[in-house]
Amino acid sequence: MSQKITVAQALVKCLEAEGISMIFGYPGAAICPFYDSLADSKIKHILVRHEANAGHAANGFARLSGKPAVCVATSGPGATNLITAIATAYMDSIPLVVITGQVSTEQIGRDVFQEADITGAAQPFVKHSYLIKNAEQVPEIVKKAFYIAGTGRPGPVLLDIPYDVQLSLIDFEYPENVEISSYKPCFEGNKLQVKRAAEAIKEAKKPLICAGGGLFTANARELAQSIAETANIPVICTMMGISLMPSDHPLFLGMVGMHGKSVSNRAISECDLLILLGARVGDRAATAIKEREDLKVIHIDIDPAEIGKNLPVNVPVVGDLKAVLTQLSEVIEPKQNEKWNEYLCGLKKQEITNNGSSETGVNPAAFLKDLSELLPEKCVVSADVGQNQIWTANNLKLRGGRFITSGGMGTMGYSVPAAIGAKSAVPEAEVIAICGDGSFQMQSMELATMIQHGIAVKIIIMANNRLGMVREVQANNYNNRLTAVFLDGSPDFVKLAVAYGIKGEYVNSISEAKSALENLLKSDKPYVLQVKVDENEKSIL
């Protein structure tokens, strides 16, 4: 008989067996047995400075590695601090395995120190969760957790493990496969439905592809692009779909929705066939979609619950996008859609962005133009939430690389920890976090994480001393009565960076942008730019 090991040791072995090389976390008493075992492993632990950021870092890591990533926290406040990160991952369908310590089983329910019902509290935001009371089941449950998190429509899976369970001795054997009778993620698309989709594309005069984050999840961006090229279908994307295609691709129009490009919104309101690829027709993206009699909709998604939820669909196809698009590419016929494409091309040319001067400070569009020109092809840009996000989404031109952001949840304080995770997954890529001075102050503690672990994330702070997006809402809808949007009291961010041992620079006018960006990109260490932006700048420039 094999030698018994503790559940804590078994957990580490499970993670090793899953190929996990790095985890993000913050220890505490109830998770100490796990941390003690981690000391014997080659798995690298990144100590963040707030538990939510462990979740966001794992989120960034998962997006770039395409596999479930792991974050860890202790019981009680450690676990509840993770909830926003769990919800953020859930809304954007990011695979996470979240491990929390829990008080000992015999203490559960007695309101002891640092006890929180985290499986209960996180329930609306997880794909699944386990409060593990039976030590023997741990290997099987961990296997299931990775399987559930990473397959079908991905999402976070929570493992809450009581202290005494972590210390229990078990016979360890990691299962190679798991069978969950009630969970059968569907992979291929129904052949007949794929044929119907191809026919609809053939008949359409004004087809349009709207692509979402699902294309990244399914690793199907090239396939989608080649289908668009074969049938000359123009492409718009949601916030989650940015960077699925090179920004200057002739068929690519830009982001759609409330804060999107007008050409994209025109296209979606005038097309006769809308092909939704891994996009869930969220409210912010769907502002210009109206149910029309002359509009046909093809919706391809792995989650049947998204099909028909927000928009009636004529041709639903449930399945993994890569599988379905492979099937579709075999039956789709080349076509031109000349008039439609010419028309949209004309609209695209008319699209005006003010990238000229700003009253004071740096014009964000002009700054992002400079950044786009200097960025290497292999890059990750992590945008935060607020005006900085919209500026980046609409003005960053990527030739390759990847754009990430908290699209569904709109979580401020996402960009830096997510960039830390992304950089850890692809160390060779240039990874840049773009945030505002509001959101930066929700994550500035992570400068320490970057220094401690040598993670060379570059941070650009678009500073207007305002919560810019809220200010804009108040200006437009509340008679310009500005309430609680002034960020007076903020520190000098460059000096703050220096205090952490990080180099920084100010960009007070556009003429300073290029050299500052060159310095930022040249550095192989973390770097911070504080970019002065006019306080009255709007999100749509």
Binding site: Q123, S129, S181, S182, A305, G308
Partner: protein, 163 residues
């Protein structure tokens, strides 16, 4: 519109909380809910009567299917619905009134489950209409307490809901 939904679930801890939580957070109204194990003790069957449009029903079914512990979901067609509830009613009953209540029990096919010097407890299983009539008939007697289960239901005919 009322819908009767049968759900087969893995008999795991917390599964009922996941299902009721889903109804609560997506704003679906639950009329009644009944849970019990099946002939396989690893599998429970839940019957939920919910209110909503056809769109809501479709969403309920799809969202339920996303829960990992949910094995099968079926909305039972009204024309083939075999639905039962159980009600226990304890009414004030002096010995002299017993024969009246025995009559009511006989007419309504209720059972007399308990008798005391002051009360009589009647038990009836039936569909919601039978039970409404039954309650109506007992109203003239002072009702001491009443307890009613949620609906359990299956589809009439030879077809069965199994895994």
């Amino acid at each position: 519109m009322k819908h009767t939904i049968s759900i087969l679930v893995e008999n795991n801890a917390g599964v009922l909380a996941r299902i009721s939580g889903l109804f609560a957070r997506r704003g679906y109204n639950i009329h009644s809910l009944a849970v019990g194990v099946t002939d396989n003790d690893k599998i429970s069957r839940i019957t939920i009567v919910a209110e909503g449009s056809d769109y809501t029903l479709e969403q309920i079914e799809k969202q339920l299917n996303k829960l990992i512990d949910v094995i099968k979901v079926r909305s039972l067609p009204v024309e083939k619905l075999l639905a039962r509830e159980l009600v226990l009613v304890k009414v004030c009953c002096k010995p002299a009134e017993r024969s009246e209540l025995i009559d009511i029990a006989e007419i309504t096919t209720a059972k007399i489950s308990d008798v005391s010097t002051e009360t009589m407890t009647l038990e009836l299983s039936g569909n919601q209409y039978n039970i409404a009539t039954f309650e109506e008939l007992l109203k003239p007697y002072k009702i001491v307490e009443i307890v009613r289960t949620g609906t359990v239901a299956m589809q009439k005919g030879s077809e069965g809901l199994r895994i």
